[in-house]
Symmetry: C2
Amino acid sequence: MSHHHFDIDVVVVGTGMAGLVCAHRLRRHGVDVVALEACHQAGGRTVGVEIDGEGADLGGQFIGPGQDRVYALAAELGVATFPTYTAGANVLETETGRLLRFRGMAPKLGLLTLLDVARARFRLDRLARTVDTETPWHSPNASALDGQTLRSWIDRTVRTRSGRRFLTLACQAIWACEPSELSLLHALFYIKAAGSLSALTDFEGGAQQDRLDGGAHGLAGKLAAGLGAALRLNAPVRRIERDDSGVTVTVDDGTALRAKHVVVAAAPALAARIDYHPPLPAARDNLSQRLPMGSVIKYIATYPEPFWRTAGLSGAALSLRGPIALTADSSPRSGNRGVLIGFVNGATARDLATRSPADRRTAFLDALTRLFGPQAGTPVTLVERNWNEEPFTRGAYSAVFPPGAWTQLGPALRAPVGRIHWAGAETSPRWYGYIDGAVRSGETAADAVAQDIHPSR
Amino acid sequence: MSHHHFDIDVVVVGTGMAGLVCAHRLRRHGVDVVALEACHQAGGRTVGVEIDGEGADLGGQFIGPGQDRVYALAAELGVATFPTYTAGANVLETETGRLLRFRGMAPKLGLLTLLDVARARFRLDRLARTVDTETPWHSPNASALDGQTLRSWIDRTVRTRSGRRFLTLACQAIWACEPSELSLLHALFYIKAAGSLSALTDFEGGAQQDRLDGGAHGLAGKLAAGLGAALRLNAPVRRIERDDSGVTVTVDDGTALRAKHVVVAAAPALAARIDYHPPLPAARDNLSQRLPMGSVIKYIATYPEPFWRTAGLSGAALSLRGPIALTADSSPRSGNRGVLIGFVNGATARDLATRSPADRRTAFLDALTRLFGPQAGTPVTLVERNWNEEPFTRGAYSAVFPPGAWTQLGPALRAPVGRIHWAGAETSPRWYGYIDGAVRSGETAADAVAQDIHPSR
């Protein structure tokens, strides 16, 4: 055997939750790792920020039943979970600005609309059950399902204008895009990957059921701290060379690391911007041209107390009027201050981003005031995170498959290319796009790479 | 005024037809230019190759009425044009392998199918006339047209199975993608940008009417030669920094050029892989995540003589059986040897690419033999160009807009970002995706930049 020099066993590119978990787990497998992060802090789409002396999540923050791997990770890291505040009524704002209070996920939209929406939800769930999440392109009728947008399906299936409008809002809330941008097959895959539509939309019993003490970013923080010197910040990867024996990963400043494997834990659209030598196979490259990120601006508004609770409101709202698509109570477990989060998604996020910071603040607070009263208009602090502006994320919550991508090029999403492996919430067949999916993808990549390095274990 | 050092007035990134024309025209405006090409030769999607001592086009090669700018360029460069050979019958191969000879664009598909296809063509043309090519997002009903795939429209509009199959083949031939991948609005925009559907599909009177003496790549060759030392080959651009006074363009080898402006003349998906400082605005970045290239493998088969002509065939064929979608006679003007070109497009191109070179050769020649007889199976030379594999093109003929892209982010396609300007066949509202569109885009960018540099002229 020829002699090969390696700086390290494995380089992990990107330290969102997938990359962090991958590096953490590789070390537990006895594998030497360096994790490279482009930004000044680890966390990716679960990064945190300090607001008025307390941590807050700029990205993903909720977890729920079925997300076993993120619960296990939280337990391992000693981070407690607690239920999202859901007492009181939710609010739906109609297009004309009327406020409807409701409990659970069924706003009082009028009987015809309710039936229409319920029927659409039933059909989506039934169709989703036919999708194979490991190989969506092999699902029955995959070609037809992937040949149309979710909008085409809504236009054909939903009879009332208000029902179509409500399902459009649901799409914006769930996928952070317009129904026109989304393959029906991807929507169904995504539902199946979570279990059901209500698993996606619900607080209790769904993906918004629980929160993490101190914030979801605490998981990233603890994992990053655990990596110590194995984590290198401000190190955007520009080039990955591969040959039969290993890989050479080059950072922006020219530093190069020789390793046996590399795990690229970045969303496909971002992974595509690395310069690969030899070039990636056409299928992988062409797939990565087709997977844009959704569009989200997340707002965090803090108050001296959660005043909406005393008014009998949960803090959860949906708005058909906009620009806010949905809100939730994100107060700390103690309830010693009030925190509302609000999401501006899809086309509305793109529109709002063209306005001045002052205009955006006004538009957001006006909308929040309509939902929760005048107190909502004067937060102690208002923080805005436009994920589309982040140079190493460029959108959220996750990659949105347009029609044709799954059936034309799906197999290239997860398949390693020689010694290059892919991780990230987009590669998980379970809880695609969620923190739990990211955790699973990091674990899967770590186990595959470790098996190659230490086949005896 | 502060002193600024510039190496050059303008850097042009990419020397496909758009970049070459841009650089050429800037010099005629008295502007100092450097044009940077990633590959070892200029030409981009109109690059040439020598086969048996004669030049051949690996990419675009036809021109036709309405493409005034490429005709003007050919005249300026002293390249003569000549009509594509169209005497004799065209051939349509049915799914079951039956060969139908026909003249013009109307194969003998059976009366019902013919009527069905004619009706669909009429409707597409009528809808296309409603599209505003400068601002497709402002077209009447743009949201609904951009909310569906071409496949959804075909499924809804075309009544016969054979009609749907024929329109699918037309889509593969015209856009090098499946109808599931394409926004209906983009298909209509593309038709309108050419004038009509028959302008796209026809030889005589359409975009395949004429050819260029010595090949279309001769235009690129002459433009490149004219640039002399201003053209730098093997110089992939990795980074573009911009500030109020200029831009700094850095090549792979670390060489940096300071200029007043930069024109990025690359397809959006490729332009997105350059590292921009400061990062591009979200709208431009997010659009470039959404514009994948079509999928094409082009074959060039050479023979001692154009034997099909003596058999009464034009050399033009369409196949519903595949893997070839379409062929054409590409013999030199003299007719002193025979050249057939064949295109394997869309899903078929992706499938064929997974097979071995020997298998691909056999599959192609078997299909060609079915169309043109046993002589077709023994070419002197067979050259294959899989555009999806080319690291600095990554597909062809052009970027394919999925649903939602034009209406959500269209305005970012052509808008300069500070001193960064965009060119390429994708930026032209006339003949989008064609050589003529590339020429127009290069001229437009050159004129805009020159006006800024020498406002007095």
